[in-house]
């Protein structure tokens, strides 16, 4: 809950939306992974970026389903890849990280209602049309996490989490395999499909 000191010490790294879907196969391995970014402020400006690992275990740029970094702001995509995605173990350690193909975004559209039954982000560009769909949504929760509770291990993070109990990733109309699983965040069990709105990553002063 908010502190008595109104301005949080530290430097804002970026702020915006950051929903994602991580699907696992029957063996428990990631079968498809996606993070979407709608950035309101960053040192590289505003923009929208989709990171998709259609084949997390394949490091080839020609992997099928594809591993792509789609964006309408190339500088922002580079900033996020180098300064954020590379700090998330599940994404950095996947072979797909080394074989990402850059795709220029032609259109982005969000639909549905995050306090309703369904929410979706649809991103298209070049030869790709990707749709991320979250369903069976739980009520939103406001989180404030310390560096030891976040994936980068280096930020204070504020966010609004809407967990989804089911989700799907479609690439050019084909649904990628895998199921939503569970994970633990800040001491409570949640799912591997999540909407994150109003998310702010702050570099604490002691790390600056």
């Amino acid at each position: 809950m908010p502190l008595s000191q109104p301005v949080t010490p530290g430097t804002v790294d970026w702020t915006g939306e950051n929903p994602g879907i991580l699907l696992r196969d029957d063996a428990g391995e990631f079968s498809a992974m996606a993070l979407f970014f709608r950035i309101a402020w960053s040192p590289a400006g505003q923009g929208q970026v989709l990171l998709l690992y259609g084949s997390p275990g394949d490091g080839s740029p020609a992997a099928t389903p594809p591993n792509v970094l789609m964006s309408d702001n190339g500088e922002l995509a580079d900033f996020l890849k180098e300064n954020f995605i590379a700090m998330l173990g599940a994404f950095r350690n996947a072979p797909a990280f080394g074989g990402l193909r850059d795709v220029a975004v032609r259109s982005v559209r969000s639909s549905g209602d995050p306090m309703g039954c369904r929410y979706a982000e649809s991103v298209s560009g070049e030869d790709l049309s990707v749709e991320l769909v979250w369903e069976d949504l739980e009520p939103p929760r406001a989180l404030e996490l310390t560096p030891d509770q976040v994936g980068t291990g280096a930020h204070t993070m504020f966010t609004l989490l809407v967990p989804a109990r089911s989700a799907a990733i479609f690439v050019n109309g084909a649904r990628l395999p895998g199921r939503v699983g569970t994970r633990v965040q800040a001491g409570f069990e949640t799912t591997t499909a999540f909407l994150y709105f109003s998310e702010t990553w702050v570099i604490p002063p002691e790390a600056g």
Binding site: M1, P2, L3, S4, Q5, P6, V7, T8, G10, T11, V12, T15, G16, E17, A40, W41, G45, Q46, D113, P114, M115, G116, P139, P140, R141, A142, L143, E144, L145, T146, Q149, F158, L160, V162, A186, G187, F188, F197, S198, E199, T200, V202
Partner: protein, 209 residues
């Protein structure tokens, strides 16, 4: 200082809520123009956009008799936010313009982020009216979190990222509304009366909150 990772309260709404408050001179007792923009991404009443413009805050009149109106693509949501938030903010409380403003439909809302250090704008059209809010000479982003004692409504926890602007304008059908940006005490420091507010979330404190 201590932190609680999961706020036990009820999330009310979240989105962007920048504002521009202008006075005709630094010694003027009251504001000549009050404007707020809303890009709401989550609320119990859905999502939407709005520009609330009071170009005559102390006149109990609406558009076109006075430049007092709210333009929105989700009236139900904004009625809820005006009653529950805007009407409780010290800058707006009791303003005749707030109760007298007209409600206009919004047909489009678009931002022009440009270079986030120099210029940012939100432009809305609807009901035959065009509104442009422009922020210039922007500062660094400040992460803010306040409890009810320090929040604008006095009732909520609030998280946001503020960027103050040293200059700003509100244009209605291309005509600037009166006044200039001033300084005020905000979040315990001297800040401009024009600001961007990204990633803003309002929470009603719950058990233990």
């Amino acid at each position: 200082m201590t932190r609680t990772s999961v706020n036990p309260g009820r999330v009310e709404w979240s989105g962007e809520n920048p504002g521009i408050y202008l006075k005709e001179s630094s010694g003027a007792p009251d504001y000549s123009t009050l404007a707020l923009f809303f890009r709401v991404v989550l609320s119990p009443h859905g999502r939407g956009h709005a520009a609330l413009v009071l170009g005559a805050p102390d006149a109990a009149a609406g558009w076109p008799d006075a430049p007092n109106f709210i333009m929105t693509d989700n009236q139900r949501m904004m009625r809820w936010i005006v009653d529950g938030w805007v009407a409780k903010m010290p800058t707006f409380v009791g303003r005749p313009g707030l109760s007298g403003m007209s409600w206009l439909d919004c047909e489009s809302a678009a931002r022009d982020p440009g270079d986030l250090r120099t210029r940012y704008s939100e432009t809305l059209y609807g009901s035959g009216v065009g509104v442009e809010m422009i922020w210039r000479d922007l500062g660094a982003p400040l992460p803010v979190e306040v409890s009810p004692a320090n929040s604008a409504t006095g009732e909520h926890d609030m998280y946001s990222v503020f960027l103050e602007a040293r200059a700003a304008d509100v244009l209605v059908n291309g005509t600037p509304l009166p006044g200039r940006v001033q300084d005020r005490m905000f979040f315990g420091r001297r800040m401009s009366t024009a600001f961007l507010a990204f990633s803003e979330t309002w929470v009603t404190p719950g058990k233990g909150g």
